[in-house]
């Protein structure tokens, strides 16, 4: 069992803050991707296509 000494709260807070910030970044990116693909799907369903004629969802 590792001992963190008298400043354990500072060490634990640092690692917890890093975990929370990284989790927020990942969550934001995943939600943003879901959001954009959903909007593209809706546009695709309403018959709006790209100038190239390819589906809006192409390679997404």
């Amino acid at each position: 069992m590792m001992s963190l000494g008298p400043y354990a709260s500072f060490i634990v807070t640092s690692y917890a803050a890093a975990a929370v910030v990284v989790a927020i970044l990942i969550g934001w990116i995943v939600l943003d991707h879901r959001n954009q693909t959903q909007r593209l799907r809706e546009l695709d369903r309403s018959g709006i296509t790209r100038r190239s004629g390819r589906s809006a969802m192409d390679a997404s």
Binding site: I11, S14, I29, L43, I48
Partner: protein, 264 residues
């Protein structure tokens, strides 16, 4: 596939869809190894166990500058070569860079309280990193304030390149001024001053965080490409609606004039 092929957003999306799962897996493995090594690193003879904060603080501090460097290269791509993915790369990197800079400031502050006796000191290193953080926030605000992505890209590129002046100031602040922050101990003339038991976990964590940045950056770039695709399709949809309503109004006008003619 040559580098120029990546200029095509559709090819970029296809390639990154294949690469991202591998990058994410490598990041998770390296982070796990780095965290394990950090947990079992010995206490420092002066800092005690608080040396463990360094394994988080230093990679984030390095990345705060590295991300701005990436954005500066992307800004050159926007202004000089007008590369179609350059401003996408710059815009996608800004929030990630801001998060790393925030973590560098926060963990540095949490280390400073037990070691220096204060959370904050207005010395050259801390102040120049705080300015970097504010510049990230300013860039993000600029991107949101301008509606047209290509106009926003040019303004943001100029601001990014001007802001790059801060990078050598941050790096050499500990040499140029008398600061509370200690001078460089890893990347310095004559090699690292750290013992292997600290240097190895630190380098593993630095590589893991760099991989984390690459993974998140590529994913955020994909989102930005999709956002622009949504925007252009919505504009196309709006122009179609405007055209059809104009055509409708035109035909109604023609019918009305025919009715007036018939009445006369």
């Amino acid at each position: 596939m040559s580098l120029i092929d990546l200029a095509n957003p559709t090819r970029f999306l296809a390639l990154t869809a294949r690469v991202l799962p591998w990058l994410a897996a490598a990041t998770i493995i390296l982070l796990a190894i780095g965290l394990y090594q950090s947990a079992y690193a010995p206490d420092d003879y002066q800092q005690g166990a608080t040396v463990k904060i360094m394994f988080i603080h230093v990679p984030n501090a390095w990345l705060s500058m590295f991300v701005w460097g990436v954005m500066s290269i992307a800004s050159l791509g926007t202004l000089v070569w007008r590369h179609p993915l350059a401003d996408v790369a710059a815009k996608a990197a800004a929030p990630i860079g801001a998060a790393f800079t925030f973590l560098a400031l926060l963990t540095g502050s949490l280390w400073g309280r037990p070691m220096w006796g204060t959370y904050w000191e207005w010395d050259a290193r801390l102040t120049s990193v705080l300015i970097l953080f504010l510049m990230y926030l300013g860039l993000m605000a600029l991107w949101r304030a301008v509606d047209d992505p290509s106009r926003a890209a040019r303004a943001a590129a100029v601001l990014t390149l001007v802001g790059a002046i801060n990078l050598p100031i941050i790096k050499f602040s500990v040499d140029w001024w008398n600061t509370l922050h200690q001078p460089a101990s890893v990347m310095r003339m004559g090699g690292s001053a750290l013992d292997k038991s600290f240097l190895i976990p630190l380098l593993v964590m630095a590589i893991a965080f760099t991989l984390l940045f690459v993974t998140l950056h590529l994913a955020a770039m994909r989102n930005e490409i999709l956002r622009r695709r949504v925007r252009s399709l919505q504009m196309m949809q709006a122009s179609r609606v405007a055209f059809s309503s104009e055509a409708g109004a035109g035909s109604r006008g023609q019918n009305a004039s025919k009715e007036v003619g018939a009445a006369g």
